[in-house]
C-alpha cells in the first residue's frame, strides 16, 4: 500500500490534524520523517478506520474501490474487517472487490457465500443474521438450495414457512429434505412452526409428507460432500487459470448437458460485459 503525507492522510480519511496526531500516538503508528513532513503507511490508517464503530459501508466501499483489482490488498483489508468483527462487507478469494452481503445476494453470488461459510463459522453466523433480518425469503431460498437447515431455520424467525414454500423454488424442489429436517427438529426441540410446515408441505405435495424422512437426511449428506468438493475444485482451477493467464474468469458455475456437448459452465453475463469493456485486469 501507499504511504501518505500527513496532510494527505488527514484529507483522505477525514481526520482533523490534531486528531491525526492523537491517533498516531495512541496507535503507536510507524512513520517516516521526510524533510518537514512525515509519511504514514496507509495500511495502518485503514486498519484503524476499520476498527472504528462509526466506520460506514460507504467508507469501506471507497477503500475497496481504491484497491479494486488488487486482490491481495483487498484480501488483507477483508482480514482486518473480519478480525475487527465488522462484517458489513465481505471479500472472498476470487472476487474482484469486497461487496456488501446484500449485494452478493442480489447478484446471486451464493457460491461465494457458501464457500465462505465453510471456512469461517463466525462469518456464517453473522451472514445468517444479516439474511434473516434483511431478506428472509432469499435466505430461505439459499438455505433450501444448499440444504442448510440452520439457514432456513434462521429465516423462519422473520417469515413463515408457508411463505417460504410458496415463494422459494428450491424449498419446493427439496420438500423431502425439508420434511426430514423438520422431523429431526421435533426430536431435539419443539418449535411452534412445525405443524405449519407440515400443513404447508401437505398443500404443495401431499405425497412427500408420507414418503420423506430419513431419506431426506441421507440425500443432504451426499449432496453436501459431492457438491462442495466439486465446486471447490472448480473454484481452485478458476483461480489458477485467472492468475496464470491474467484475466478474470466468470464466477458462476453451473454444468449443463445438452445434446452434442460435454456440458458447460454457465457464465455470469456481468463478468463477460466487464471483460469486454476492459474493466478487468
Amino acid at each position: 500500500m501507499d504511504k501518505l503525507t500527513f496532510g494527505e492522510a488527514a484529507r483522505e480519511y477525514g481526520f482533523d490534524l490534531c486528531e491525526l496526531v492523537r491517533i498516531i500516538q495512541q496507535e503507536n503508528m510507524k512513520y517516516e520523517s521526510v524533510g518537514s513532513d512525515i509519511l504514514l503507511p496507509e495500511e495502518e490508517l485503514i486498519k484503524y478506520k476499520l476498527r472504528q464503530p462509526d466506520y460506514s459501508v460507504e467508507d469501506f466501499k471507497k477503500v475497496a474501490e481504491k484497491y479494486s483489482g488488487d486482490s491481495r490488498e483487498l484480501e488483507n483489508i477483508a482480514k482486518v474487517l473480519i478480525e475487527s468483527r465488522r462484517f458489513e462487507l465481505l471479500f472472498v478469494e476470487g472476487m474482484e472487490e469486497a461487496k456488501p452481503i446484500n449485494r452478493l445476494l442480489e447478484e446471486g453470488e451464493y457460491e461465494f457465500l457458501y464457500l465462505l461459510f465453510e471456512e469461517q463459522e463466525g462469518i456464517r453466523r453473522i451472514v445468517i443474521h444479516e439474511f434473516g433480518a434483511n431478506e428472509p425469503l432469499l435466505a430461505a431460498e439459499m438455505g433450501a438450495q444448499y440444504q442448510d437447515w440452520e439457514l432456513v431455520k434462521e429465516a423462519l424467525k422473520y417469515t413463515s414457512i408457508t411463505a417460504v414454500i410458496e415463494t422459494c423454488p428450491a424449498a419446493r424442489t427439496n420438500l423431502g429434505w425439508l420434511r426430514g429436517e423438520i422431523d429431526s427438529e421435533r426430536l431435539s426441540e419443539a418449535s411452534d412452526y412445525l405443524d405449519e410446515v407440515k400443513e404447508a408441505i401437505a398443500r404443495i405435495d401431499p405425497s412427500v409428507v408420507s414418503s420423506a424422512g430419513e431419506e431426506g437426511k441421507v440425500i443432504r449428506r451426499t449432496k453436501s460432500m459431492e457438491y462442495r468438493e466439486m465446486l471447490g475444485l472448480i473454484s481452485k482451477i478458476r483461480r489458477a487459470v485467472s492468475t496464470e493467464m491474467g484475466i478474470k474468469l466468470p464466477s458462476k458455475v453451473h454444468f449443463s448437458e445438452p445434446q452434442g456437448s460435454y456440458g458447460s459452465i454457465g457464465y455470469d453475463r456481468g463478468d463477460l460485459f466487464h471483460e469486454q469493456e476492459g474493466f478487468v485486469s
Binding site: 415463494t167 475444485l233 466468470p250 445438452p258 463477460l272
Partner: protein
C-alpha cells in the same frame, strides 16, 4: 369470508398479495437458473467418473473466455469440398472450434502447474467414457458425425502422449473403435482429417508450453 372483512383489511390483504407477487418476481430474477437442465452431481450415473472428468471439463469451459480474449489461437477449419449427408455446416464449424478449445484445455492443465499431460489425458478419457456411455450405452442422445469426429481426433492424438498408462490406451482404443463404426467411413475420416489440422494448429498465445510429457503435476484435491 372476504365479505365480512372491513374495507381497510381488504386493502391490506390486496397489498400483501401484490407484495408477495413482487417478491416472487424479484426472487425469480435473482436466483440462478434452475438446475433441471444441468448435470446433476447427486444423480449422475457415475459420480466417480464425473469427478475424474472435472479438470478437463472445467479447463475446457474456461478456455472459451480465454479464446474471446485472444489468449487461445484456434485456426479456421478448411471448408469441405465434398458434401456429407446429414451434416449441418453450423455443426461442422462449431465442433472445429471446439476441437481447439479442447486442445487449449489439455495445454492449460500443465500450464497452471496442477495437472501433467498424462493427468489431462486421463481426465479427457473419462469425459469420453461418459459421453460414449450416454450416446451408445444408455442412448441418452443421438450421435452426430461432427461431434463424434471431434472426439475421435482428440483420442487419436492423446493415444500418442508419452507416459499414458496401458489401461488408458486400451480404453482409448476401445472408444475409438466405437466411434469409427457409427458413420460412413469416408465421410467420417474426411472430417477427422480437417479437425486434426485444427488440433495441431491450436496453441495458447504467447505461452511456451514446454515439454509437457515430463512436467510434474501438483494436483488439487
Amino acid at each position: 369470508m372476504s365479505i365480512t372483512l372491513g374495507c381497510s383489511q381488504t386493502l391490506e390483504l390486496r397489498q400483501e398479495h401484490r407484495q408477495s407477487i413482487e417478491l416472487s418476481q424479484r426472487l425469480l430474477q435473482k436466483l440462478p437458473e434452475e438446475f433441471t437442465n444441468f448435470l446433476n452431481i447427486e444423480k449422475d450415473e457415475d459420480r466417480t467418473l464425473l469427478k475424474v472428468c472435472l479438470p478437463f471439463l472445467t479447463l475446457h469451459e474456461y478456455s472459451h473466455p480465454l479464446q474471446a480474449k485472444g489468449l487461445v489461437y484456434v485456426p479456421q477449419v478448411e471448408e469441405l469440398i465434398v458434401k456429407i449427408a446429414n451434416m449441418a455446416q453450423r455443426d461442422y464449424h462449431h465442433n472445429a472450434n471446439e476441437v481447439g478449445i479442447d486442445k487449449s484445455a489439455m495445454l492449460l492443465g500443465p500450464r497452471i502447474g496442477h495437472y501433467s499431460p498424462v493427468d489431462m489425458v486421463r481426465s479427457h478419457t473419462a469425459m469420453m467414457e461418459r459421453i460414449f456411455r450416454d450416446y451408445f450405452t444408455i442412448n441418452k442422445f443421438t450421435p452426430e458425425i461432427t461431434f463424434v469426429a471431434r472426439l475421435y481426433v482428440e483420442m487419436k492424438e492423446h493415444f500418442m502422449t508419452e507416459g499414458v498408462l496401458p489401461e488408458h490406451k486400451a480404453k482409448l482404443e476401445q472408444l475409438m473403435g466405437l466411434a469409427e463404426g457409427r458413420f460412413p467411413a469416408e465421410d467420417f475420416h474426411t472430417i477427422v482429417e480437417q479437425y486434426g489440422k485444427v488440433y495441431a494448429g491450436t496453441n495458447l498465445v504467447g505461452v511456451n508450453t514446454g515439454n509437457p510429457a515430463t512436467e510434474t503435476s501438483h494436483k488439487f484435491h
